[in-house]
Symmetry: C2
Subunit: 443 residues, 2 copies
């Protein structure tokens, strides 16, 4: 179980933010303790970060994370321990957990993720099996995986208000399926807890609501440590009722792009940043990586050609894009061997359990690194995210990883607010109407 | 943060126990979850194990563990995370913790332990300082440590019912001092929580009570996984009112030694074990490592010479030995480069956070490895204790370490029962009168 020696993307201008986070560390942790005593963290989550040197911000928060197989195995004990804490809350007595994965049977890398998740939860002391929503899975089906592990998918069996397998009655259903295709009949009206709640699936979840709630978290946290919230939060806007195929909503989109670019431009000028502003245009609902464009001028979203429209119109499993998020682009400042690297941080319960860099050689620093068909190389974090070293430089790896962990936990906190809202009828309506908060002027 | 490559003592006969533990793993973890929902784990603890191949048992449970500096730094994130869970219970709001260490200023290895503990707790998000009971410490005193770290000891300041430092008001006092010399005046009647409770100090604690309560835990656990409890529990007896200097109590001692040897002999015969039985004679109260004898015949405890009597009469800081524990000796089966190796497992809250082997070249497998003046070489566990590998042999390192973790947690559970008892007046009386439970016949 040796730690592989990794070259990471850890040179560059000293980040004032990292120093602030280090100095304020005990206060930050006490603040998080207070937050988690009022709000239940999601079962798990992963956060895509962008580190621009002058800014470190979450750009996506996934409540059904894949990629557990990309984490450094040295840190698996952390995940096991975190899972033990979660299970204490969820099912203190019973010990059966059912994972429902995405409907992939050929994406072996995805299935390796499911197997890693299964093994981690088993090691935390649960009986774990995997039930598939696929109608083709009519008998237990074992798939051999490239890493030597294997995964058995089993047919779901519904008995009245309980969901399980033929010989397995779980106390909790763990979704690793983001429900892009909607909530399947078999998951409706069951007695067991579903984690994360089905309402957090992309059939109801909206990124705009997440970032609306993140705006509030970021303002409160920025106040705590005395920074401009913009340093940890991208500007954004949203257009509802866009139909790429019918070319309706283009004006709203162009106007929103113009607004976000303009706010960013003003901010850049104020901060003395010489970069050219850009925005990411993405589906407000749906797995990131699909339906994403990098845009530097409003004109680029007007009069899209057929190929561009097709790319933007549908994300996954036929989920049509009608709401579009326009998010300030945060350039990726980190590189690995001259390739662009984007950190992804994983959490289980309220604990950071590791992360990796998405490294992609063929793309620029202002492009989406999680695009369909892209081949990223995962580069597991060499260090954990909980061992900042006050004696080292603020941008030394343990300190940078601590900063990643803090910002990711802010997104996790916003996600816990989001789940609270999504699981009430009023909150569900809010989700569909979220608008960016006014960001206060910098202090 | 690379894992140092360690050669560990991991060859030898396959242990049936390890296989049973592996097979029963989800049930074991569910059982522990149920136990910890009824009983509060101690803040921390370390357990000395002996692995005889046919038997794996705790021989001592330390509620004020030193040696944190001997743990594998790779696993420090586990300790940080476990501390975060503990703090959530202890002081959700406040963030100040005061460590009170042993009164050592020259034992730099001990002080490295305190510094490691301090740093770990700091990384969990607390403000941590170290207050000394030593009257000589009248101003903050910084001691440089061999590992490059340093430790500042500060004078305690009592204000009414609160204990702290001149400019530091802690929400919790963490004892790393086993109170062998009794409960100091400054710790009496204070408002803050003391962890572990002062009653768990050696001025009141008795090993016989611990093993009395462990007897019950071992029987219940053995029943759970279908083993003879003797496999995880040494026989023992106790003599009260021994005075080594006055030579009173020798008969009781000899009789108890005879009894424990005889029970062991019968068991060995039944199990087909060809070893010669021996017992460890040790102070019932007081730090292990002092006042310990290895004995193969009752005659050895009669007519001790002056040197032997002096060695046995006093353990630490003048604490006189009056009660003596006679414990079945469990030979050490593991070796590292032909040297005897004894595993020590560390826990924080209910979590195993690592361990190390005490390796001593100069001693036999039936001797005490923690004797005064001994120089052991700590050899940090290469693996965690939470990643058993069902596909590997039951004695593969991850599985052996899992077994260590399970048995240590049983001792931790007994310690939690012990603290419950010690903090009630009736329980305190029990502590002084504990006798071994009848062990049921093997199944």
């Amino acid at each position: 179980m040796a730690v592989p020696h990794l070259t990471t993307a850890l040179t560059g201008p000293l980040l004032d933010l990292e120093k602030r986070l280090l100095d304020a560390m005990p206060g930050i942790e006490a603040w998080f303790r207070a937050q988690w005593s009022d709000h239940t963290p999601p079962f798990y989550g992963s956060v895509d970060l962008r580190n621009a040197g002058y800014k470190l911000a979450p750009v996506d928060m996934n409540l059904f994370p894949a990629g557990f197989n990309n984490l450094n195995p040295v840190f698996r004990p952390l995940a096991i321990q975190a899972a033990q804490v979660t299970i204490d809350h969820l099912c203190p007595g019973a010990a059966n957990l059912l994972i429902i994965p995405e409907n992939h049977t050929r994406n072996l890398y995805y299935l390796q993720n499911v197997a890693t998740l299964r093994d981690t939860l088993r090691l935390s002391g649960l009986k774990v099996r995997v039930g598939s929503l696929l109608p083709d899975i009519t008998a237990p089906t074992t798939i051999d995986l490239p890493d030597g592990n294997s995964l058995t998918l089993e047919p779901l069996v519904r008995r009245g208000r309980r969901l399980g397998l033929a010989d397995f009655d779980p106390c909790v259903i763990l979704l690793n399926n983001d429900l892009s295709a909607g909530l399947p009949e078999v998951l409706r009206g069951i007695d067991q807890a579903i984690m994360p709640p089905a309402e957090a699936g992309w059939h109801t979840r909206r990124k705009s609501q997440h970032f609306h709630l993140y705006d509030q978290v970021a303002v409160e946290f920025a106040d705590l440590i005395g920074i401009d919230p913009w340093v940890i939060n991208p500007f954004w806007g949203v257009c509802k009722g866009v139909d790429f195929q019918a070319r309706t909503g283009e004006e709203c989109l162009a106007e929103t792009v113009r607004e976000v670019l303009e706010r960013t431009r003003v901010k850049y000028r104020e901060m003395g940043i010489s970069q050219t502003p850009f925005v990411m245009v993405k589906a407000d609902a749906g797995t990131y990586g699909m339906g994403v464009m990098s845009v530097k001028d409003p004109s680029e979203v007007v009069g899209l050609n057929r190929k561009q429209r097709n790319k933007m119109a549908v994300v996954k499993e036929g989920l049509e894009v009608t709401d579009v998020l326009v998010q300030e682009g945060v350039p990726t400042f980190e590189t690995v061997n001259a390739a662009v690297a984007e950190p992804v941080v994983y959490m289980l319960d309220r604990f950071v359990i590791g992360g990796f860099y998405r490294v992609h050689t063929g793309r620029g620093d202002d492009e989406n690194l999680n695009a369909p068909g892209m081949h990223f190389v995962p580069l597991a974090f060499e260090n954990g995210c909980t061992e900042p070293d006050a004696a080292a430089r603020p941008d030394a790896p343990p300190n940078r990883f601590y900063a990643y962990g803090v910002i990711s936990r802010l997104a996790l906190l916003a996600a816990s607010h989001e789940i609270e809202a999504l699981t009430t009828p009023a909150g569900l309506l809010d989700a569909l109407a979220a608008k960016p908060a006014e960001q206060p002027e910098p202090v």
